[in-house]
């Protein structure tokens, strides 16, 4: 028997939209640009995967005949998006042809058999714990920008390290850490229940998975989250996502944090500093965005220079409890950190021209960022 279903256009559109990022990748396996549509009981499940991130969405539907088929994800999404009917029907015909009816329109779309679609990974429902969507979003927003790009680093840095930790006071925190080899961001927030499954070592979630979690977190107050040995599981309402974790180790970031002296600190107002950095970046060479920081007890003098355009200079009031120092930084790194910080002032520990500096804000206690200088 072949599948026949009636669905709400609006609901189907939303679910298909959420899969486009996963199914849109050009790959070698043709069927991965399709979505799997399975009709059972009173619902239709739509699945997309790139073998790294798999998402399964459930849509309420009138199932007139159970069955399954796969259809090209993008084309189906476009058909549903352009349709003006409130309801759509899908019927699987011979040779994997699917007839779609939407209002006055009639489509025949070539599908591929459901049996050829990769099976969706099993997960352990008992390992899931509730986490506020806002918390996950906050952790991701403060670490996402410093994830390494593909092929950019020899280390396992193209994902976010997620760690759980029990603090001395007995409270539990969830941490996310990312680095591209030149800088590092860390954000931690207190959580109610310990995520026992995240061991000291933590797990690494690939960039794409982090992006998808961010989307899940956006529209949901509470997410069910679980970390298993090889996968992360996120559940919200009618959607389930399974992300394959990255193998290998994250470099020893704690060793680096412990090695940074905190005595020589620069205190400066965040917003003027951010705006000034943006201005300096107008005059940097594209590859490295070098901005010179000249610091003394009372001020920070920023300058940048581009061989092709010219140069820029700015002076900001600041407080520094070390000897005057001059060093260089990639201006973009500072802009990205200052943008995510929620505070009026920031404190930056700067020790030498070649040692890592530490950016923090007392008003945004869970966050810290480490930035390596540039050798000028």
């Amino acid at each position: 028997m072949s599948m026949i279903v009636n669905l709400s256009r609006e609901e189907l559109l939303a679910k298909l939209a959420s899969l486009q990022n996963v199914t849109g990748k050009k790959g070698t396996i043709a069927i991965l640009s399709n979505v799997l549509i399975e009709a059972r009981n009173e619902a239709v499940e739509i699945t997309g995967t790139d073998l790294e991130v798999g998402i399964r969405n459930r849509v309420q539907a009138e199932v007139r005949a159970e069955g399954a088929i796969t259809l090209p994800s993008k084309k189906l999404f476009e058909i549903v998006r352009e349709s003006d009917a409130a309801q759509l029907s899908m019927e699987v015909r011979d040779n994997n042809w699917v007839r779609i009816k939407a209002g006055s329109s009639d489509y025949n779309l070539a599908g591929m058999p459901a049996e050829e679609y990769p099976s969706f990974p099993e997960h352990d429902e008992g390992a899931l714990v509730p986490l506020p969507g806002e918390l996950l979003k906050d952790l991701i927003d403060k670490t996402f920008f410093s994830i390494a790009q593909e092929g950019e680093s020899q280390f396992n840095l193209t994902g976010v390290l997620v760690q759980g930790e029990q603090k001395d006071g007995g409270s539990n925190v969830l941490k996310m850490i990312s680095s591209d080899g030149h800088r590092l961001s860390l954000m931690e927030r207190e959580i109610d229940s310990p995520l026992a499954v995240i061991r000291e070592k933590g797990v690494i979630i690939p960039r794409k998975g982090v992006q998808e979690i961010r989307k899940f977190a956006e529209g949901n107050e509470i997410l069910q989250v679980g970390f298993e040995e090889k996968q992360a599981v996120i559940k919200s309402g009618e959607s389930l996502m399974v992300i394959r974790l990255m193998n290998g180790d994250f470099p020893d970031y704690k060793g680096i944090l412990n090695g940074i002296g905190r005595e020589r600190r620069l205190s400066i107002e965040r917003a003027p500093f951010l705006n000034s950095m943006k201005r300096m970046n107008l005059f940097t060479e594209d590859r490295y965005n070098a901005v010179t920081f000249k610091i003394d007890r009372e001020r920070l003098v920023l300058s940048s220079q581009s061989m092709d355009i010219g140069n820029a200079k700015d002076e900001l009031p600041a407080k520094y409890d070390g000897d005057p120092i001059e060093l260089g930084f990639n201006g973009r790194y500072f802009v990205e950190v200052l943008q995510v910080l929620a505070s009026t002032t920031v404190q930056i520990a700067i020790n030498s021209e070649e040692s890592p500096c530490l950016v923090q804000a007392e008003e945004d206690p869970g966050f810290l960022s480490v930035i390596m200088p540039m050798k000028l």
Partner: protein, 445 residues
């Protein structure tokens, strides 16, 4: 108006680059080792060119104890004192020693600690590359007043082809004299010059009467000039070759020139022909003026095709070492590594990868090239030629992002190590210090 400004700044930039001794240099690969057929052809051409060779006039200019002399220039109080530049620490090596210091037996590539022992009253100074680069740019600018054909070898050395400049400026030795005078009056330093019909002979000549020397080898007089010089003066004759030749009774370049070519080829292989030609003063290499450098690389054609993995890896390492040294000599780093593989059937493939940061480290280049090699059919198909080149070049002195997980002091250490090894290899020959994997067979040589 605005447009004009942009043009002006672009123009300024170009001028600046052109005068920067390290920004430029050549867009070329080293000549691949010639195949036997090509070698014979090349030999015929060199015979034919012997007459043409006589017409060329090449000046080799070599600054005297350059780094040390710049230090004395900047601190006149040091004049007459033994000045030793090098290392940042006791464990570094000497980069340059003034002639006063050389009297104590101090020379480049010597460990600083040894230099201190030999010359306790020496003035030990750190290397100030930036400053030397600046002075070098001004010196090269003087050279360029007399010919556009200036080929800088490093900050303190250059070849000038003045063949076409003579109608304007007089004979080559006159030009050499004028340049020496200008370097003295405008810069305040001395330079030694060699004037001859080829690069090879000009370079030997400039070394003969240092410091502040001028040696002239008249056209056609190359062979006679070389005859009484010890063979160690010849480019490409290191200690190993010298000992081997010594056993054959060869002491001078003249002795070497009298040995039959077949004997040298039997003993030294392809190096034998080079020795033979060099001894006769035959060298047809052109003076290649610098252009904006696009890539730095080297490639090698093998006598027999390679299939074994360890042979391929060994050759890759040898190439990486050469390319690394060349990058450091030009003062540039490359960010894109390209591996070229030519199979036995002359089919050729290239594979490239772009690194996070530009490098001049042979270890890193070799690692990257190894990964690229795995993406070819090398080994499964016999390999005739391998080549490594680095493109996407940046000046070594340019701003550079430091790594978080390979901390800065690690990089500084590596740079110091490279400086020391390069100094030793410059002084004692390019095979003095090699990675252990390349040492095999060195003892027999």
């Amino acid at each position: 108006m605005e447009r004009k400004d942009v043009n002006l700044s672009t123009l300024l930039k170009i001028t600046e680059r052109r005068h920067h001794p390290c920004a430029g240099a050549r867009v070329r690969y080293d000549t691949p080792q010639a195949s036997p057929a090509r070698r014979t052809a090349a030999a015929n051409i060199s015979q034919a060119n012997m007459t043409a060779n006589r017409e060329r006039r090449i000046i080799h200019l070599d600054m005297d104890a350059f780094y040390a002399s710049v230090e004395v220039l900047d601190q006149p109080a040091l004049r007459g004192r033994p000045v030793i530049v090098g290392g940042g620490s006791e464990r570094g090596v000497v980069s340059a020693a003034s002639y006063e210091a050389r009297r104590f037996g101090v020379h480049s590539a010597l460990p600083i600690a040894t230099a201190r022992r030999l010359c306790p009253e020496g003035v030990f100074l750190p290397v100030r590359m930036e400053r030397y680069r600046e002075v070098s740019a001004r010196i090269m600018e003087i050279f360029r007043r007399y010919t556009p054909l200036v080929e800088p070898l490093s900050l303190d050395e250059a070849f000038l082809d003045v063949t076409g400049s003579r109608p304007l400026f007089g004979p080559a030795e006159e030009i050499a004299r004028t340049i020496k005078e200008l370097v003295r009056t405008e810069i305040g330093l001395t330079v030694s010059a060699g004037v001859a019909g080829s690069k090879l002979v000009a370079k030997i000549a400039s070394d003969l009467r240092k410091p502040d020397g001028l040696t002239l080898v008249p056209p056609g007089g190359e062979r006679e000039f070389l005859a009484n010089l010890p063979i160690g003066k010849l480019w490409g004759v290191g200690q190993a070759s010298r000992e081997a030749l010594g056993l054959m009774g060869v002491r001078t370049i003249g002795d070497l020139g009298r040995l039959p070519l077949s004997l040298l080829e039997g003993k030294f292989g392809k190096h034998g022909r080079h020795l033979h030609e060099a001894a006769l003063g035959i060298d047809n290499r052109e003076v290649e003026p610098e252009r904006e450098m696009k890539s730095v690389g080297h490639e090698e054609t093998f006598a027999a095709d390679l299939t074994r993995r360890q042979d391929l890896e060994r050759e890759l390492l040898a190439l990486a070492v050469r390319v690394g040294r060349r990058l450091r000599r030009y003062g540039v780093r490359g960010r894109t590594v390209t591996l070229k593989v030519k199979y036995h059937d002359f089919k050729q493939v290239t594979r490239s990868a772009t690194l996070t940061a530009a490098t001049d480290d042979e270890g890193e280049i070799c690692r990257e090239a190894g990964e690229l090699l795995a993406r070819t059919e090398a080994g499964r198909k016999p390999v005739r030629l391998l080549g490594i080149s680095l493109a996407n070049l940046a000046e070594a002195g340019a701003a550079r992002q430091l790594d978080l997980f390979a901390p800065g002091h690690g990089q500084a250490k590596k740079e110091g190590l490279h400086r020391a090894l390069d100094a030793i290899n410059d002084k004692y020959g390019s095979r003095s210090i090699l990675p252990a994997a390349l040492m095999e067979g060195e003892e027999e040589k």
